[in-house]
């Protein structure tokens, strides 16, 4: 027993080290005074103040947040509709095609998604004159396209596990299909929709490849800016930015876990009664 637990401790320790050492070194180096990323020159907050004065990065961050917010919202609406159709409409013509189309972006290499969308936008501009040029709009469309696949899959599996007699019961009690959706189905799939939105938001914020294909001049998202900066050599500013992002994510994750724990214990307590 003793040896086994020691073995487990060592393994777990190595695992944590492997996962978190890079992050910690990044955080520590973001407080580095030296201009050279790899040389330690004492503690300082100067890269943080420089970061906030760097308009390029701030604008890119704001643009990324805006794009992520809009495309996550659009993806949730469209993805929920797709997931609903796939799990509730029974067999219909073209179901295979729809379900294939919905899941394709999950398995397609990003490069191909990006390229095909770029070609589509160029062709559409030539044919209808819309969308004119590439910029924020085309990035939003592209991100919505691949995010809605994730939402559809999450919503579909939630609907599949949901008891269909709940919807029948609502109908039986006088709810017409429209109000039935908003009164019963939607509240019950809300957790799936929320996690779909969060996932979409993260994916959009994270995306470099597709955005690079479909963005235009002056519309660089944060990942694009960071990537281009890193190519010219890593600057300590990027370290500071990364640290801030890690802080935001960590707070979000800890908050979510805390909320879930609280809900779980609440349920257990009430069940014991």
């Amino acid at each position: 027993m003793q040896t086994k637990s020691r073995f487990l401790t060592v393994t777990a320790g190595l695992g944590y080290l492997f996962l978190y050492a890079p992050i910690f070194s990044l955080i520590i180096y973001s407080f580095n005074k030296s201009k050279l990323v790899t040389v330690w020159g004492g503690w300082s907050l100067k890269w943080y103040s420089e970061l906030f004065e760097n308009e390029q990065i701030i604008n890119a961050a704001l643009l990324s947040l805006k794009i992520a917010f809009i495309s996550a919202t659009l993806a949730v609406v469209l993805g929920t509709m797709a997931g609903f159709v796939l799990s509730r409409f029974g067999p219909f013509k073209g179901k295979m095609i729809l379900s294939g189309w919905v899941t394709a972006p999950l398995v397609m290499p990003e490069v191909i998604t990006g390229l095909s969308l770029l070609l589509l936008f160029v062709a559409m501009e030539g044919l209808f004159g819309w969308p004119s040029g590439r910029g924020t709009l085309t990035i939003i469309i592209a991100h919505t396209t691949f995010c809605l696949a994730y939402v559809a899959v999450i919503v579909q599996s939630r609907l599949a596990s949901m008891d269909e007699t709940l919807e029948e019961a609502a109908m039986d009690l006088g709810a017409k299909p429209g109000s039935l959706f908003f009164l019963v189905t939607l509240p019950l799939i809300m957790p799936a929709i929320i996690s779909g939105w969060l996932l979409s938001f993260t994916l959009s914020l994270d995306d470099l490849v597709i955005a690079s294909f479909v963005s235009g001049p002056g519309n660089s998202t944060l990942p694009m800016v960071i990537f281009s900066k890193v190519r010219l050599g890593v600057t300590p500013e990027v370290n500071a930015l990364a640290t801030l992002m890690i802080a935001v994510v960590a707070i979000g994750v800890i908050g979510a876990v805390y909320q879930m724990r609280r809900q779980a214990t609440l349920t257990v307590k009430l069940d014991d009664k």
Binding site: D163, L166, E168, A169, M171, D172, L173, G174, A175, T267
Partner: protein, 386 residues
């Protein structure tokens, strides 16, 4: 009680016949030649059935007998392939579930997990656009009736199984439906709770005067609840009768076997008079007398059905020699209130006999390998021709 306007006196006068026995009584629910096919499979096969006001009708059948499909057609979740369903004289064709004067209690209860008990019960009234104060009042009354007045704020997952069942019942009754459909209403409860709830259900049904159609696979449940039972098998109703008649006068081997347990002796009719039949049965090893006439061709092969509790068992030969057969006790099961004997006849046929345990001591009574006589009266058995 606030439902006073709906209280219906239970039939007190003995001479008043129930509606289904009255000539020309208007049925409340009429099912006319209803068939439902799922592809090649006939789930419901040309069923016609009349159910009368204030009845508590049980559709009894095994899984796949079509009973649930029939119920779902009444609720409007399935459309009949052919045939008509009339509720209170109105043809239900094309009428959507949310427009029907029918409510259903689901087997899984289907309580909305995101709503409180009170909101679950209020759901139907809110859809009707009833005024808020009125909703509040009626929900409180309904919850009191099912004895859950103090739990209105709870969520369904905070309730026990029996409490959930009552919420489901309250939710289904609050719109004062003309017809309440119950799909295995007691299926998810344990035995003790089920027995209590059965009587509660009957009380509520009598109090509100709503017509109930119950689907169940549990024959005991059907026997206790029902005014009449419709026994279903493979999409058809085999027999429709009052519980007593279904049990005592089954019209076919299937019904006799499905409801309760039964011993059957195959035999040939040797004498058929208007008020009695004699059947020569090789399985029984003797001639069996039954004191009711049957309509059959001479020499027809029939079955004589006798319930285990109607057979008497003794070590001494009974004085009256009619319907007396001999065998050896092969197995005894002591079940507390009664004992079950498995007796092997000379023909190899196995007969099941139950006997109440009149006295506490078992010592001087029957034991394994005892040679015993089994006998019953002529009016205890039934001849089944199909």
């Amino acid at each position: 009680m606030s439902f006073s306007e709906q209280i219906v006196p239970s039939p007190t006068s003995a001479e008043q016949l129930p509606l289904w026995k009255q000539e020309g009584a208007e049925p409340f629910l009429r099912i006319e030649n209803v068939t439902k096919n799922f592809g090649e499979f006939k789930a419901v096969d040309n069923i016609s059935l009349d159910i009368y006001k204030k009845e508590l009708f049980c559709l009894l059948g095994g899984s796949g007998s079509g009973k649930s499909t029939l119920l779902r057609m009444l609720a409007g979740f399935e459309t009949p392939t052919s045939g008509r369903i009339l509720i209170d004289g109105v043809d239900m064709a094309g009428i959507q579930p949310w427009e029907r004067p029918v409510n259903m209690m689901f087997q899984s209860y289907a309580l909305f997990p995101h709503l409180s008990v009170a909101d679950n019960v209020a759901f139907g009234l809110k859809r009707e656009g009833v005024a808020k104060a009125e909703i509040k009042k009626r929900v409180a009354e309904m919850l009191d009736m099912v004895q859950l007045g103090h739990l209105g704020k709870r969520k369904p997952h905070q309730l026990s199984g029996g409490q959930r069942q009552r919420v489901a019942l309250a939710r289904a009754l609050i719109k004062r439906p003309k017809l309440l459909l119950l799909d295995e209403p007691l299926g998810a409860l344990d035995k003790k709770l089920r027995e209590e709830t059965q009587f509660e259900l009957i009380n509520i049904q009598e109090e509100l005067g709503v017509t109930f159609v119950v689907v169940t696979h549990d024959q005991e449940e059907a026997m206790t609840l029902a005014t009449r039972i419709g026994v279903m098998n493979q999409g058809i109703i085999v027999q429709t009768d009052e519980p007593h008649d279904v049990y005592e006068y089954p019209n076919s081997k299937f019904v006799a076997d499905f409801i309760g347990s039964v011993n059957m002796f195959e035999g040939k009719v040797i004498q058929d008079e208007p008020d009695s039949v004699q059947i020569d049965s090789k399985e029984a090893g003797t001639t069996l007398f039954v004191n009711h006439g049957i309509s059959c061709s001479p020499d027809q092969v029939v079955n004589v059905a006798i319930r285990p509790e109607k057979i008497r068992i003794s070590k001494k030969e009974p004085e009256k020699g009619v319907n007396c057969i001999q065998g050896i006790i092969e197995e005894i099961a002591y079940m507390g209130s009664l004992s079950v004997f498995r007796v092997r006849l000379a023909s190899g046929k196995e007969v099941r006999v139950t006997q109440p345990n009149f006295t506490r001591s078992m010592g001087d009574r029957f034991t394994w390998n005892d040679a015993v006589f089994l006998h019953w009266d002529e009016d205890s058995s039934v001849v089944l021709t199909s």
